[in-house]
Assembly symmetry: C2
Homo-oligomer: 104 residues x 2
């Protein structure tokens, strides 16, 4: 998929990935793999940004000798997902324009 198109949905995908159950970086990538491909560096930048934006909170857990940072969505994060759905409506109108105009 086009890099630019991905940008608009990546952070929301990450939020959705942790919405119903707290998760951690490595797992998020695996879970999202069938939906969107994202590299580790990309994910960790997104996670950091979402944390700074208070859309999620972090909790470090020791698991089998390894560190795991579990991410939990906040109210703000949930709102971000809802806002995205509204924005999608707008985007759909743009898409309609593209399809209608280009098929003339």
């Amino acid at each position: 998929m086009d890099a630019q198109l991905r940008r608009g949905v990546l952070d929301v995908c990450v939020l959705v990935a942790i919405k119903n159950k707290d998760s951690y970086g490595y797992k998020i990538i695996k879970d999202l793999k069938p939906v969107v491909e994202l590299s580790e560096s990309t994910l960790y930048t997104i996670l950091k940004r979402l944390e700074e934006g208070k859309m999620l909170i972090v909790r470090s857990v020791e698991f089998e000798g390894r560190l795991r940072k579990y991410y939990h969505i906040t109210q703000r994060g949930l709102k971000r997902i809802e806002d995205f759905k509204d924005e999608w409506e707008e985007l759909m109108r743009v898409y309609s324009f593209i399809v209608e105009e280009s098929d003339l």
Copy 2:
């Protein structure tokens, strides 16, 4: 609309705006206004990029004392529009994931 979401559609909108009839910068902005708001600086950057990517060609015309640069879409530009439609299908799958997962 979210800045990131716009990014993925802006250049295609510009291509669509000139697809059926050659147009120029100032007019493109006016024509696209009801669909997507874009500033002059943004448009001219996009036009330049599209030109460099050989998706359109330029023709300068003197019109009532003012310079007008008419943009004409190329085969490559047309292909970009078609490719976008395919990418949209992919994006729809991502959107479905977001809606389904977030409504659990």
